[in-house]
């Protein structure tokens, strides 16, 4: 535990150092990145050491604020979430040390590093905190740090808008958490987590769950609470987006799991709600991703989709808990947790990759890219691995976690059990299948349009391989995708203690249901190995077949069209068109068409923009209505002093009339001389 505090101290101190050095961008970057990396390394060391020993370490200091205590604890659940935070942040720090070089001559990078390191420290404290006050403070520090990181390039209008949306969303989300913590602590009068568990609140658990779902769901990005997310991720520096998507939004999941542990009376409908919200997030998230042509925005929507998958897993777990169905419970939670790790890895990878693309080509617009794999073979290949992984295809890690979720459903205790269990299972199966197919569609589109084919613009043609410090983290994460895919049974084993903790079961109790998934997982892993071997073998066969024969290189067959240019290639929008057209009701597509006119049309253009469904249908009308309603009262302050005095007069008059007529009965003899006798 002391080492974790050292890690936090290193992070904060190095951030401050970076601010002090801000006039010397290189030094500032050095301090920030080295401090960030070192802090993460120390933290990782501490977490792994504690988790390895199987003990729970805790620390409790007094803290002189109302209801506050500086209580930290490292248990399996905390450790489980701390690891992706630290790994991803550490890699992002390495990556960032090079990425920020573009800002050296025009922005102060000290601020950037300060808030980055603060963000990491905040996330670390959030998972360790065992006191509501500490949790909320760390939570907000984390959010505010993220806000400053998002708005780093605040000269741009879209960055400012995104920052505002983020800030408002996170603030409103926190309001729900405040209420939730207050209600949790209403009985014990303290905000220590230990007391929450010991003296269960008298407030209905349903309300607490809903508050937690909205509060934490906002951070995680569950639909329709996700609106800040597709705005904020694209505008933040890429490595920050990676950390926010991979680690920070997971803390919403962490919070929800942590709160579930306090709530004794788990209701089935919570599970239904989680599954429903998850399915909506997953399907609409990936559909919205399909509609985007901005790479980072697309990745942001894909984060919503993955949060949806995680939420469905949690829903299964909750359903299992409430119906005393250990298989559903264990496999649901385990699948969700597994996907947390996996998403951190491949989404981190993809965001870092998007940053590479952006710096190499100065754009994230898919339609202005193309042919990047030739120009950055290593990074591109790593991104391909990430894309396949996020599409949930074997033999990579994305499949492993989705398989656990499928396995939770395809089960004697799931799909085959009573209706109340099997219907949600079918919902999960159907959603996962659709999400899987659409995700494959979406990421084929990303990789195929951006990295394959011919470059569509000179910028894309001039792209170069990134610096080693930027490509190394990406390659490491890609290796992680493969490794976890092939070693999935081992990782699954490590998740079980966390599940045991969440469900308050003994580890031994959950091992038998867990075995239902772990045995097939090992087969899946072996099939994965076989796939690699088989593909390798076939490659050798082809090499043998082609040896000594003519292998020619020529242009692509243009189906008889001989003067093709790169611009004739299929574009991202046209690639997505079949899906957009088919799922049209879920898109709000604004089309700007400049049709060719006249006998000799000069130029024509077609631009489509897909706006966010819930922003358009829920938030804009809602905020607009509130604004109009309140605006109607603005005549109150019309500038005339007479009216102002009138307000004072009317107030006192109204109060007197109220008081005299309501509080005082008509004069009769009994009233006079009523004297309050009260001993001091």
């Amino acid at each position: 535990m002391e080492w974790l505090l050292v890690a936090v101290a290193v992070l904060v101190a190095s951030g401050l150092m970076a601010v002090v050095m801000t006039s010397f961008p290189r030094l500032s970057t050095f301090w920030g990145a080295v401090g960030g990396g070192a802090g993460c390394a120390i933290g990782l060391f501490a977490v792994v050491r504690v988790l390895w020993s199987g003990k729970v370490e805790s620390l409790r200091w007094g803290w002189d604020v109302p209801y506050g205590s500086f209580s930290l604890e490292l248990d399996p659940l905390s450790g489980f979430f701390a690891i992706p935070i630290l790994v991803l942040s550490g890699l992002a720090a390495i990556y960032g040390s090079r990425y920020v070089a573009v800002f050296w001559d025009r922005k102060s990078v000290g601020e950037l590093w300060f808030f980055f390191n603060l963000l990491v420290a905040g996330m670390l404290i959030v998972v360790l905190a065992r006191n509501g006050m500490l949790f909320l403070v760390a939570w907000e520090v984390m959010s505010l740090a993220a806000f400053f990181l998002i708005t780093f390039e605040h000269e741009k209008q879209e960055v400012r808008d995104a920052g505002k949306t983020f800030l408002i969303a996170t603030h409103l989300g926190t309001a729900f958490l405040l209420t939730m913590f207050v209600l949790l602590g209403a009985e014990s009068g303290s905000l220590d987590f230990a007391d929450f568990a010991n003296s269960p609140s008298t407030v209905s658990a349903d309300l607490l769950f809903l508050l937690a779902l909205v509060g934490f769901g906002t951070k995680a990005g569950l639909m329709p609470l996700h609106v800040w997310l597709p705005e904020a991720y694209p505008v933040a520096p890429s490595y920050v987006s990676a950390v926010m998507s991979g680690a920070m939004s997971k803390l919403g999941i962490y919070g929800l799991l942590r709160v579930l542990m306090f709530l004794s009376d788990v209701q089935p409908w919570w599970g239904w709600l989680l599954i429903g919200a998850g399915a909506i997030s997953g399907i609409l998230g990936i559909l919205s991703a399909l509609g985007q042509s901005d790479l980072k925005r697309l990745l942001a929507y894909s984060s919503i989709e993955n949060i949806g998958i995680i939420s469905m897993g949690m829903g299964l777990g909750v359903l299992g808990t409430s119906s005393q169905n250990p298989v559903l419970m264990v496999l649901g939670f385990a699948g969700a947790l597994f996907h947390v790790i996996n998403h951190a890895i491949f989404k981190g990878l993809l965001f870092l990759g998007a940053g590479v693309v952006f710096q190499a080509t100065e754009t994230c617009d898919l339609d202005r890219l193309g042919g990047l794999l030739k120009r950055m073979p290593w990074t591109g290949s790593a991104i391909l691995i990430g894309s396949v992984a996020i599409a949930g295809l074997p033999p990579l890690n994305g499949f492993a976690s989705e398989f656990v979720l499928y396995r939770a459903c395809f089960n004697r205790e799931g799909l085959l059990a009573a209706l109340s269990t099997s219907i949600p299972c079918v919902a999960v199966i159907g959603s996962l299948a659709l999400i899987g197919g659409l995700a494959a569609f979406a990421f084929v589109r990303v990789f195929g349009i951006a990295f394959l084919g011919e470059p569509r613009t000179p910028h894309a043609a001039g792209a170069r391989s990134p610096n080693d410090r930027m490509s190394l983290p990406i390659l490491l994460l890609a290796a992680g995708c493969i490794a976890i895919g092939l070693l999935s049974p081992l990782v699954f084993e490590k998740i079980l203690p966390v599940v045991a903790q969440i469900t308050h079961y003994e580890l031994a109790m959950i091992e038998s249901p867990a075995a239902r998934a772990s045995v097939p997982l090992s087969v899946v892993a072996r099939v994965g190995c076989a796939l690699f071997l088989l593909a390798g073998g076939l490659a050798l066969v082809r090499r043998w077949l082609l040896s000594g024969r003519e292998v020619a290189v020529s242009g692509t067959w243009g189906c008889g069209y001989s003067r093709s240019t790169p611009r004739i290639q299929y574009t991202a929008s046209s690639f997505a068109q079949p899906a957009i057209g088919f799922f049209a009701p879920f898109f709000r597509t604004y089309t700007k068409l400049r049709a060719p006119r006249g006998l000799f049309p000069q130029s024509a253009s077609l631009a489509t923009e897909n706006t966010d469904l819930s922003t358009d249908l829920i938030y804009h009308p809602l905020f607009g209505a509130v604004g109009r309603l309140l605006g109607k009262l603005r005549w109150l302050q019309q500038g005339r002093v007479h009216m102002y005095v009138l307000y004072v007069g009317c107030t006192i008059l109204a109060l007197m009339i109220w008081y005299v007529s309501m509080e005082l009965p008509p004069a009769d003899a009994s009233m006079s001389g009523t004297v309050v006798e009260r001993s001091p």
Binding site: L373, V388, A391, G392, L393, P394, F403, Y406, R407, F410, L415, L416, L419, S422, G430, L432, A433, L434, G436, G437, L438, A440, F441, V444, R445, F447, G448, I449, L452, G453, E454, P520, V523, V524, V527, A530, L531, L534, L538, A539, V541, R542, L545, L546, R549, E550, V551, A552, V553, S554, G555, T556, W557, G558, C559, Q569, Y570, S574, A579, F582
Partner: protein, 307 residues
Amino acid sequence: MEVATLLPLAVTLIMSPLLLGVINRTKAMVGGRKGPPLLQPYYDLIKLLGKGAVYSRTTTWVFRAGPIVSLAGCVLAATLVPLGGCESLIKFHGDLILLAYLLGLGRLCTVLAALDTGSPFEGMGASREAMFSALAESAFLLGLAALARNTGATSLTQMHAALADGAWSVSGLTLALVTVALLVVFLAENSRIPVDDPNTHLELTMIHEVMVLDHGGPDFAFILYGASIKLWVLGALIINLVLAPSAGESVADLGVALAGMLILAVLVGLIESTMARLRMPRVPQLLVGATALSGLALVLEFGGIGK
């Protein structure tokens, strides 16, 4: 490992191109032509394997990896499917998911390879293939979920075994619905009419064929072979469903199943001869229809009506 478990895989690997031959031959006969020999697909494969290769200078290693990974995925998928009383080589709870996703991996590789060429036509085909398969996937998995619910089994081999006990007489309606849904998936995934016309000569209307325009030589052979395995694997699922093993003797069952496969091929040939390809916008509706059928089967199962 019993030898019997290797049998379905071996049969698949050996006999799968034959199905294409049977389909083509049927179509020719219905059309009043003599048609190519039954073994023509084998000849094609051998011919292609013996050729050199031409690669576009636009392409990268993805283009070359595509056919290989795709074939590998299809072969591994074949190891998961039982046939006619023979258990599959690899069987575990939830193997049907792996099957669906392995086929998905193969498709993804083909699509990526198509996009790698930078050809607009191949991009178009890739887009359609990706979209249709995304829809087919849910129909497929929901159909299998209905089967699982019906049979109480969660691996393909178990399901196959459970169906043997005269399941059709008990819950024929469910099974029929699932069969139709799987048939649609089978046609769509294998680019057959009414979803796609493998014999079309207009690139704009092609789906699968247009994606592999640039492949040649051994690569194309891998693709063709992979496609035929996929045809066999999905066909085998339908045959397993329709012709439940009853003889109790694996050789006889296998024979029945193989006969069933051939009949299925003839059936596909007949469909292709009598139906026209659907308009492109209608295809997703067909697939959603299949999903609906799967869903209906599930509802029937939940309601206990299908039994």
